[in-house]
Amino acid sequence: MDNSKGPGGFRIFMPTVVFLVLFAGGIAAGYFFFMKTTQKKAPEGPETARPAGAATTIQVYFPIEDRLQAEDRQVPRPPSKLASARATVEEFLKGPKTAGDSYVPEGARLLGVYDGEDGILYIDLSDEFRRNLKVDALGEFLLLRGLYESVLTNVYGVADVKILIERAETETLGGHISLMRPLGETVSQTLVEE
């Protein structure tokens, strides 16, 4: 009875083990193959849609005295929509090179840009953008309009712009104009006459 179990059982047992090892190896190889393929496909979003390359010209609108003035700036060609938004806002925060009183707040930094599902571009700025702003109502309006126009001119696919300060909604920058809604409705018009 023992003999029949011994060599005969071993003969059946060995191919089963080999089969199981090969089966498990096949599953593992398949898993790694498909994961690798999926990882290659995943990042093809807007962030990597365009190759970075030579310089490009963007137009930035600065508030100077009682008007907006456009300046051309050379920036490395942004590879994506968000990179384009970052480059535009960073150029805006540098302020104008033209002579004249401008009120882009000194020391303000861009903390981030986020693309909302509703087409709204969220621009997160450091507190200096609010704290160092000393302007009247028209100055505050022109600052917001300049930023809005700059973004919509240079960044494709933006429906509206909303400003955040230190990652949070802020009611107002200078105490005149509300930031609680996206800028489009707020900055669409001005009329100043003597």
């Binding site: 009611e171 005149h176 409705e185």
Partner: protein, 211 residues
């Protein structure tokens, strides 16, 4: 004695309605801009938040002598959010509203609010929104702005510009409403100057009330 009473009756029947309440402007709300950590712009060594509060208090005294009820959105140096200001204005049942600020120039600016959409484009919810309250007073607000500007120009000889901006404190006001920016440059805001500004603004309100 008879003469005294006759004079008294003439004053109440003729002069009071003409001088103070011709448009039914019983309640005036003044909004001194900025406050607390929000300094506004500087005029020399003075800050906008202090200048606007001082002028608003002087104007309040002037208007109370004229027989009007006057409320200030802030009576002390403290920060008020735009939402707080709007709530206070809404609670006061204002017949006339003026927000006081400084311009960043030698000129005075007077603003009325601006709306992107016409009434016909509004949904029912938007029509009754707090920000729609000013819609039906826009014409009156422009008239008010013109009269106040004339009073400032006459008293100080400054250039006055008029404009329309989306200003929440105005759009939430259910009464003629303007935001006045007095010049911050070329003016020494001492007690006498501030009294003169208060007087000029008061004359403007009085003239508007009499129209």
């Amino acid at each position: 004695m008879r003469r005294f009473f006759a004079g008294f009756i003439v004053f109440f029947l003729v002069l009071m309605p003409v001088t103070a309440l011709a448009r039914g402007l019983d309640t005036v709300v003044l909004d001194p801009g900025h406050g607390g950590y929000d300094f506004g712009v500087n005029s020399g060594d003075s800050r906008e938040k202090e200048i606007t509060l001082s002028i608003a208090k002087k104007l309040k005294s002037f208007l109370r002598e004229e027989g009007r009820k006057v409320f200030l959105t802030r009576e002390v140096d403290r920060y008020l959010s735009l939402a707080d200001r709007r709530d206070r204005i809404a609670a006061s049942s204002a017949d006339l509203f003026m927000s006081l600020h400084l311009s960043d120039s030698e000129s005075a600016m007077i603003y009325v609010t601006w709306y992107k959409e016409t009434e016909a484009d509004l949904s029912l919810g938007e029509y009754y929104d707090i920000d729609s309250r000013q819609r039906r007073y826009l014409y009156e607000s422009r008239v008010f702005a013109g009269i106040v500007g004339e009073a400032l120009g006459t008293e100080f000889g400054v250039t006055v510009y008029y404009g329309e901006l989306p200003l929440p404190v105005l759009s939430a006001t259910g009464a003629p409403a303007v935001l006045v920016e007095l010049p911050s440059r070329g003016v020494d805001y001492n007690a006498e100057t501030m009294l003169r500004f208060a007087y000029a603004l008061g004359i403007g309100m009085q003239a508007y009330g009499q129209q």
